[in-house]
């Protein structure tokens, strides 16, 4: 790998946008005009751990690496700003694949108004992508945090759950290591169109930037993105807020076709939707008198809030999941990233 040539080709594939940027590629560091609050997160995807090049295209990987980082900005209600991407690339990976990866990232950056303003390329035995993103808000007070939830707040979630988890099950079904009968059951579980949608949901998660901004502005008391799965992330929000949470599994907005895939894999749909990660929807805590405003904000941002539980006093960080009968349900397994 010729790192200098590859970097030059990557730079040629990037478009600069936004008036904040003073200098970006070609310098030791990027320079942006700063004001208000800067919101920064870093995320890393590793081949064989978070994706496989056998089931994800290079462009999928670039998209996902940026999407997961942007989702952290969405969870605070910040707007997307600058992206800094460090690519650790095995020598045997063709330069064209690396450029496809960057193109996948650039496409999402463009669509969300972000600019890839810096990065580096190094050699490594395993493909790894670290993405740091900075977003901006007028003021720290304009943002939502994990720790503002209060007893009595309603819990709401954007969009639909379980799609990414079902997509992952289907992807693993592509894996030749699976017994033939199981593979066939998965392959025929859902029609082709649904199948493609679930796979895309896993491969190309969509950061809820617009909804995050709208919900923060609507005065949610706490917000978090669902990367580890609803059950786990609700625990993070509750723990940081010093409260406990109750989630009614029957209320989960389960994505279409998730039930069919879950059944084929011998899983309960609601449990899958509550435990599988990577949906990147937003979970919010909202004071009851702001619930209507929050719903309207989500709808204005092209999604909808589903109310599925509430916060209460009690053991900090504890999440009680209840079934259709109102009785507690234990999840068989939590998915952690």
């Amino acid at each position: 790998m010729n790192e200098h040539r590859l970097i030059a080709r990557i730079e040629g594939a990037l478009e600069q946008r936004g008036e904040r940027i003073v200098r970006s590629v070609g310098e030791d560091a990027a320079v942006v005009r700063a004001s208000g609050a800067a919101v920064t997160s870093i995320d890393t995807l590793v081949e064989g751990v978070h994706f496989k090049l056998s089931t994800h295209s290079a462009a999928d990987v670039g998209h996902k690496a940026l999407a997961t980082a942007l989702s952290d900005l969405a969870a605070m209600g910040a707007g997307a700003g600058e992206v800094y991407a460090s690519l650790a690339v095995p020598g045997e990976l063709a330069e064209e694949r690396v450029l496809e990866l960057v193109a996948g990232m650039e496409e999402l950056a463009k669509r969300t108004g972000a600019t890839i303003a810096g990065g580096d390329v190094v050699s490594a035995p395993t493909l790894m992508i670290s993405v740091a993103v900075t977003g901006w808000a007028s003021d720290p007070q304009a943002l939502a945090y994990r720790d503002g939830g209060r007893p009595g707040d309603l819990l709401g979630v954007t969009g639909e759950l379980g799609g990414a988890g079902a997509g992952l099950i289907l992807l693993e079904g592509l894996d030749a290591a699976l017994p033939r009968a199981e593979r066939e059951a998965l392959e025929t579980a859902v029609p082709e169109g649904e199948r493609a949608r679930l796979l895309a949901r896993h491969r190309r998660p969509e950061p809820r930037l617009e909804a995050g901004r709208a919900l923060a502005a609507a005065g949610v008391t706490a917000m978090i993105d669902l990367s580890d799965g609803l059950a786990t992330d609700a625990g993070h929000l509750a723990g940081r807020s010093g409260v406990s949470a109750r989630v009614r599994l029957a209320e989960l907005p389960i994505a279409p076709a998730v039930a069919a895939v879950a059944s084929a894999a011998g899983r309960e749909p609601a449990e899958l939707a509550a435990s599988a990660g990577d949906d990147y929807e937003l979970l919010v805590a909202v004071a009851p008198d702001r619930a209507e405003a929050a719903s309207a904000a989500a709808e204005g941002a092209g999604t909808r809030l589903t109310w599925l539980g509430e916060l209460s006093g009690g053991e900090e960080g504890r999440v009680e999941l209840t079934g259709r009968d109102g009785l507690p349900v234990e999840l068989s397994g939590y998915a952690h990233r």
Copy 2:
């Protein structure tokens, strides 16, 4: 590896400092109050490529990962601000080693006034550390860039060169793969004290943050840090400035004991000092009438500038190295990171 427990232990080892920070660990993203210009860079170190755990302690690795990123801020004249560290950790690496790595990073952060404000930990087959750093300046105009050099500018370098390269040669001498006679020649090339200093120079590079700020304020026309080596980085500065550069090898401020190590390894000391990377000194271009002010600025920051060449018209990005006799010298090999 229990990522959640490890993250909690890492968070416990970090001290928050600086009034800019509103939220850091425990949130989806860190939030800082922003003004002026934000300067951001990302760097990645990979085990087996940039370091070996057989010759670097975990604390060395943490130090170096942060130092190389901070050096990019130094090269612009920005002050150190926030650090976002993503650790990709093999399952077999003990948690204690990871905490030592973080401690090495935290120690340098504390000394430079930076705050480790965020990060993540993921599993990976190879240890990799990605560090994004943000520094701050009052205004984009207060910073120095690579592209401001003009024909007639003098080239100066801070500190001493070749120490990191000689340290690397010594480190490789520790490697059992080297023939015994060569290993012994290296082991006896320099006294123990010098040896330790050269090894430290390689393992624990020092970002020239104070000098960078002082030199930017003194009106240097261009600045870059020496990560790839003087010959290569002078080419970057010259290329971005649209000029060529001349460097007089006889003027290089070669670190003590470098000559002895170079000889033992069959290398020319000045060539080693000009081609080896990782010294992380600063190379500046300065208009002749500002040279005195730049020298004084460097001295005020605890280092000194050595004048070793100049910029001129001619082929963009070309670097002419001249020997003691004033005739051009070809380097046998450039070191690239």
